[in-house]
C-alpha cells in the first residue's frame, strides 16, 4: 500500500503533474528505444551487448549470445517489451503492471554491465558511474511510478479503475 493517498483531494495538482511528467518521459524513452530497434536497418540484435557482458552474471548473458535461437527470441522480446511498456506508461494504461516489467528489464540491463569497481568495460562510456548508473536511476524512478501511480487520474487507467 502506498503511504500517500492519491485520491484527488489529497494530492495536489502539482504532485499529479510531476508524477505524470515522470511517467510520460520514461514511457517516451522506452517507446523510442523499442521503435528505434524495430526500425534498425538489417535488424537489431543484442548479440554484442550480451557477448561483451561483464560482472558476476556475465556467463549467463554470454551464453544467450552464443545460442542463435535463444538470441533471436530474446531480441524480439526485448524490442516488443520496450514498445509495449513505453505505450503503457505514456498513455497510462496498466501503468503499474508495466512499471514492474520495466523495472525487470532495467534490472537485466544493469547487471549485464554492473558499474562495480573491478569490472572494466572495453567500450568507452560517457560519465562516471560507481554502483549507481542511469539504468539504476531510471529503475528507481519507475519504483516511484509504481508506488505513486498517476495513471488512474491522468491516464487511460482512469476508465478502468473503479471509483472508490
Amino acid at each position: 500500500m502506498s503511504n500517500i493517498d492519491t485520491s484527488r483531494d489529497r494530492v495536489t495538482r502539482m504532485q499529479i503533474f510531476t508524477l505524470t511528467f515522470l511517467r510520460v518521459v520514461i514511457g517516451w524513452h522506452f517507446l523510442y528505444e523499442g521503435l528505434a530497434k524495430l526500425y534498425s536497418p538489417g535488424g537489431w540484435t543484442a548479440e554484442l551487448f550480451l557477448a561483451n557482458a561483464v560482472g558476476p552474471f556475465s556467463a549467463v548473458y554470454k551464453s544467450i549470445a552464443t545460442n542463435h535461437t535463444i538470441l533471436m527470441v530474446v531480441d524480439q522480446v526485448n524490442i516488443w517489451a520496450l514498445i509495449i511498456i513505453g505505450l503503457g506508461l505514456f498513455a497510462g494504461i496498466f501503468a503499474k503492471k508495466f512499471a514492474i516489467l520495466g523495472m525487470g528489464l532495467l534490472f537485466l540491463y544493469y547487471f549485464a554491465y554492473p558499474p562495480f569497481s573491478g569490472y572494466s568495460v572495453s567500450a568507452p562510456v560517457e560519465g562516471s558511474y560507481w554502483i549507481v548508473n542511469k539504468n539504476l536511476i531510471e529503475l528507481a524512478a519507475m519504483l516511484v511510478l509504481y508506488w505513486f501511480p498517476s495513471s488512474d487520474i491522468t491516464g487511460l487507467d482512469k476508465y478502468l479503475v473503479k471509483e472508490k
Binding site: R8, T20, R23, V24, W28, L31, Y32, L35, A36, Y39, S40, P41, G42, L48, A51, N52, K62, H68, L87, F90, A91, G92, S122, I153, T154, G155, L156, D157, K158, Y159
Partner: protein
Amino acid sequence: MTRFLRRDFLKGMATIPFLGYFGLSFKQNILAEQAKSRTNYLDDLGIDHLDILNYQIPASNAKNYKPIRIGLAGHGWRGPVLLRALGFAHPTWIVENTIKGKPNEEVSLFLDQEDLNLKLTGICDTFSLRAESATAASVNDIHPGAKNGNRKPAKIYASYSQMIASGEIDAVIICTPDHLHTQMATEAAKAGIHVYLEKPMTHSIEEAVALRQVIKSSGIVFQLGHENRQHMSYRIAEELIKKNVLGAVSMIETFTNRNDDFGAWIRPIDKRGTPQTINWKEFLGDTPWQEFNPDKYFNWQRFDEFGTGVTGSQFTHYYDCMNQILHLGIPESVAALGGTYHFKDPRDIPDVMNAIFNYPKRGFTLTYDCTLKSNKFRPMTILGADASMEVGNNLDIFKDSLSKRYTKIVIDPSKPIYNYFPDPRVDGVTSATASAYIKSGFGRTLVERKIVDTTYLHMKEWIDAIRGIGAPSCNIDRGFEETVTYILANISLKEKKMVSWDAIHEKAVLS
C-alpha cells in the same frame, strides 16, 4: 458542476496529445538518426555480398581413411599447442583447465575439434623431460571423439634422424628452434614423410632455395605454420582487397610492440635442464660446437646461430598475413636499421628496428616497426587512396576524408565504415604477449558462428591434404617468399646497407 466533471473525465486522456505528436514524428526522427549514425555502407563500398562469409569448414571424414602416424620434433612452448590441435592434450593441461569439474572454454574448444583419426607414434625432444611429457599427451584418453580410447604411447626416439628412419611415421611436425628447421624438413621430405614446419622456414636464402627444391621434388605435403591463413578476418580482408575497396594501396604497416620479459625472449630457465637431461650436441645440429649454455638452450631466439632475429620470430607472422591478403611476393629491395639499445643481457637481436620493403611495381612499400620496450598496440594497417584498413582479430575500414570515390558516405573519419568484430571474448588470457597474440588475429576465429582454434584448422588442412582433400594454404612457395623477405631485412640490418633481390639468380645483392 457538470463542467467540472467533464474536465475531470477528460484528464484521463491528458497525455494522449503528446502520444499523438510522438506517433506522427517518431519515424522521421529515427530515420534521421540512422542516417547520421549509419553503419551500413556495404552498398556504397560494393561489398553487400562477401563470398567468404559463407565459408564452411570442410569435413575431414577421417574415419573413412586409415590413421596417419604422426611424429613430433620439439615439445617446448609451441609443441604442446600443436599436439592439442591434432587432438593430443597433456592430462595436466586438462586438469588445469577444468574448474570445479567443468571444462573451461579452452578444453571445450579442444573437445569440439573433429577427431582427425591420427596416431601419435613418435616423439623426439633433446630435453628428456619434455619428450616424456609428450608421451603422456599421446596416451591421454580425453580427446575429441574420445570413443576409440586405448591410445598407445608414442615412442621416444633418441634423435630426430632415428625417428625419421624408423619407418613408423607418415607425417612429422617440426617445432624445434629455427636453426634446425631446414635440416629436419629436408630429412623428412627425402624420406617421403609429410611435413608441418613451424615458421620461420630457414636461416639463409641458400637454404630456402635448396629446401624448396627438395620439397617440390619429393611430392610430400608441406605446410608452414602460419595459422593466420585460417583466420576469417584475413580472409575477409583478402576479398575486400580483391574487390578494391581501399582504392590504390600505397603503404602497408606492420608492427611488433612488446614490453615484457617473455616478449623479449627472457624466458624461464628450467633448472632440471642439465647436460645429463639435455642432449646438447643434438640441439646444436649443424652449428659449430660450443659449451653447454642453459640460457642459449631455453632462450635460443636471442642468438643468431639459432634464431632468426625479431624478423624471423615476429615479422614473419605479419608478413604472412599481408602476403595472404595482398599476395605481396618478394620485395625488390629492403632497408633496415636498428640495434640493441635497451637490453644489456647477452643477445644478438635488436630490441628496436625498422625495416622498409620496397614494391615499386605494386606502387607501395611495406614497413615493419619493432620495439621490445613499448606495449602500445598498433594494428596492421593498409593505406589506400579511398580508405584504409586496420586488420587483426578485428577488421576496420576507415574512409579517406578526401576520397573522391566515397563522397556519398558522410561520416566522422574516426568511425569505421566497415567493421568485422568476431569474438569479443579475448579475456581469460592473462599475459601481455598472449593477449597481443589474440588481438593480432592468431588465436581463435569465428567460423559458421562457432569459435574455432586457427592452429587446429591449419593443421587439419595439412592432414586433409595428405589424404588428398584440398591443398595446404601456406605451401613451400609462400614460405619461400616469406623467408627471402625477412632474410633480406636481416642482411640489411647487419650490413647497414640497402639490399636488393636478384630474382633471376635468386640472390641478395648489397648496394
